[in-house]
């Protein structure tokens, strides 16, 4: 770019001219790292000076580059450090509520365990599970659900007091760590928390209520964080199952119960393949005549070591684990087969109904209707002979899939019956809109009827209401002749209960059919 200027060949410098040695000095300084060095330029401005000028410029350039580089490194390091801190914080924080998360709780708990002094109380963990939070999400939407969680987190922090660590473990589960706490203090804290949750939660123009189950565990000296959390969780689990006591402190027997439950679930899984289930049948009679109108099939479990296990002791577990679907299908198939075996003995007018219980989760299964249709076809039974009993609770909480299943079953010609009627929170008008034909009134409504006149009138009103809705009523849990008479006087048609007969074997039902005698019969040896 620049043309060669006519240059003077470098002559040897005169001895007084020490510029070359100055250049060497300068170069040495630069080499040793002193980039700020400046070699002086003489007035001659000749080639030697040009070299000197060039060296000065280069040193300046290098200096600039280094400075810029160092600044960039510093700024990057700063950014990295900030990002690291942010990430650490994020790793310890629940993004929705801003309180701690499981990791932060674990860390705080481990620290509290380590800080424990001999002979002094140690940390306590309170685990909280919100009741019915799923309903809040389902009915108000997830955005509202999130707002509820944020509000609850705030209340927990306020109720737990200073020094405590509050964390959201996920979903609707929260934990509170009290670094040093006695039993009383823990219980006190739990009650404060329960109270704070009892106040309604107001979101814009929506009100929400939610309660909770709380499990408490006070750390033993030899327990680590995981062991403590497990025990608190077990206590919370026990609290959830207890309708009356929502706050529970851990007891070792809870662990055993939980293990037993898991073992039972494993065994239940094998029950159908191993043929350990069997059915008993409870007669349903016409109140007026005592005539056998049909039976309700009830499942029992012939457990290999525990003997006969009644449905209350394994059906809830089956519903929780989803095993109910397989069990329900076994029951339906077996009961229909049994119906066919009774066929020769059944009254010619075809008014014998087989009642089978259906669980809520079975209704959620899209294959249900096909299965029922197929089972009926296989045994050759008519749909009208089958009545499926569904609990009031299951019908109330059902959604679109359940409604579809019900209507399809109705279209099939199968009878549908509300079971345990009177135990839910149904409104009167909804009764008419349900796709059911009959209502089985829960035993609790008639249990005091004989002694309580008001109750008697109440039952009569319920019966009338059912009839007015265009349905038939069946009363279960009839245990005395008095109850049977009272119901009959009311105009009730059908009943079921120990007064008429306990649940009995298929063979004994066959006997009843053969004899054609009305119920109740005189007590027989079992």
């Amino acid at each position: 770019m620049l043309p060669d200027a006519p240059s003077v060949p470098p002559a040897a410098l005169p001895p007084e001219d020490d510029r070359l040695s100055q250049v060497v000095e300068g170069i040495i300084r630069i080499a040793s790292g002193d980039l700020n060095t400046h070699i002086p330029v003489s007035k001659a401005r000749d080639q030697v000076d040009a070299v000197i000028t060039g060296i000065n410029l280069l040193a300046g350039e290098l200096n600039e580059v280094y400075a810029a580089f160092e600044e960039r490194v510093e700024s990057r390091t700063r950014e990295l450090r900030e990002a690291h801190l942010t990430m650490q914080k994020m790793a310890m924080t629940d993004p929705l509520t801003g309180i701690g998360n499981r990791s932060s709780l674990h860390e705080a708990l481990t620290a509290a365990v380590a800080a424990r002094k001999d002979g002094e109380p140690g940390p306590a963990v309170l685990l909280l599970d919100l009741d019915g939070f799923k309903d809040v999400n389902d009915s108000l939407g997830h955005d509202a659900g999130d707002l509820v969680l944020i509000e609850i987190a705030a209340r927990l922090v306020a109720a737990s007091g200073p020094g405590s660590v509050v964390a959201r473990l996920g979903g609707d589960e929260f934990a509170v760590l009290l670094p040093v706490s006695s039993v009383q203090q823990s219980r006190g804290a739990a009650m404060k928390i329960m109270d704070s949750l009892k106040r309604r939660i107001t979101l814009e123009d929506i009100d929400a209520w939610t309660g909770a189950s709380i499990g408490i565990h006070l750390a033993e000296p030899n327990e680590d964080a995981s062991a403590i959390m497990l025990r608190a969780d077990t206590a919370m689990y026990a609290a959830k199952e207890d309708v009356h006591r929502r706050i529970k402190v851990f007891e070792p027997v809870m662990l055993y119960r939980r293990q037993l439950r898991r073992r039972t679930a494993r065994e239940l899984r094998r029950a159908v393949p191993n043929g350990e289930l069997f059915l008993a049948y409870q007669p349903v009679v016409e109140l007026k005549s005592g005539r056998l109108q049909g039976v309700e099939a009830l499942v029992r479990w012939n457990h290999p070591s525990r003997g006969v296990v009644m449905p209350d002791d394994f059906i809830p577990l089956a519903e929780e684990t989803g095993l109910i679907v397989g069990i329900g299908r076994w029951v339906l198939g077996t009961a229909l087969q049994q119906l066919e075996q009774w066929r020769p003995l059944l009254p010619a007018d075809g008014k014998f109904l087989l009642r089978v219980n259906l669980a809520a989760s079975e209704l959620q299964n899209m294959d249900l209707v096909d299965f029922v249709r197929g089972s009926l076809r296989k045994t050759g039974s008519t749909p009208g002979e089958l009545v499926l009993e569904i609990t009031e609770g299951a019908l109330l909480s059902g959604g679109d899939v359940e409604t579809y299943s019900l209507r399809s079953l109705q279209a099939l010609g199968v009878g549908l019956e509300i079971d345990d009627f009177g135990t839910g929170y149904s409104s009167i008008s909804y009764l008419r809109r349900l796709p059911v034909d009959t209502v089985k009134v829960d035993r609790s409504l008639i249990s005091d009827m004989a002694d309580d006149d008001g109750q008697l009138q109440f039952v009569a009103a319920v019966h009338n209401m059912i009839r007015a809705a265009g349905m038939d009523a069946v009363f279960e849990g009839i245990e005395t002749a008095e109850q049977a008479r009272q119901l009959q006087d009311m105009g009730c048609c059908s009943g079921q209960g120990y007064y008429f007969s306990k649940p009995i074997s298929a063979a004994r039902i066959a006997g009843l059919l053969r004899e054609g005698q009305p119920l109740p019969q005189h007590p027989e040896p079992e």
Binding site: M1, L2, A44, R45, D46, A50, G60, E61
Partner: protein, 116 residues
Amino acid sequence: MDVSMAPEGHVLLILPPGETVTGPMAAAAHDEVARLAGSEKLPMLLVLTGVEAVTRHARSVFSNARSLAAVAVVGVTPVDRVIANFLLGGAVQPCPTRYFSNEQDALEWLQRKNVA
């Protein structure tokens, strides 16, 4: 710094001998050149004979100059040549540039650039 219009129609910029040309000094000179040029681009004769040094900041001001059609840089000694090389060696050239060790050649070159 001395900025003026030569009768031939180019800008004449004489950098102060013995001094270091800083960024602010360069910016002031640039503003003056821009004022003289208006919306046009003018050729410039830049004399840096005897200048002590030119800073990087001044170099970047030069690189970003907008009012220049061509620049002829004039120096005398080898030191002037090194400094001129530094000035014109920035990342961006605002226009055609060239170094001359005598003013006469510089002016002739500028005239040719002006005509073009």
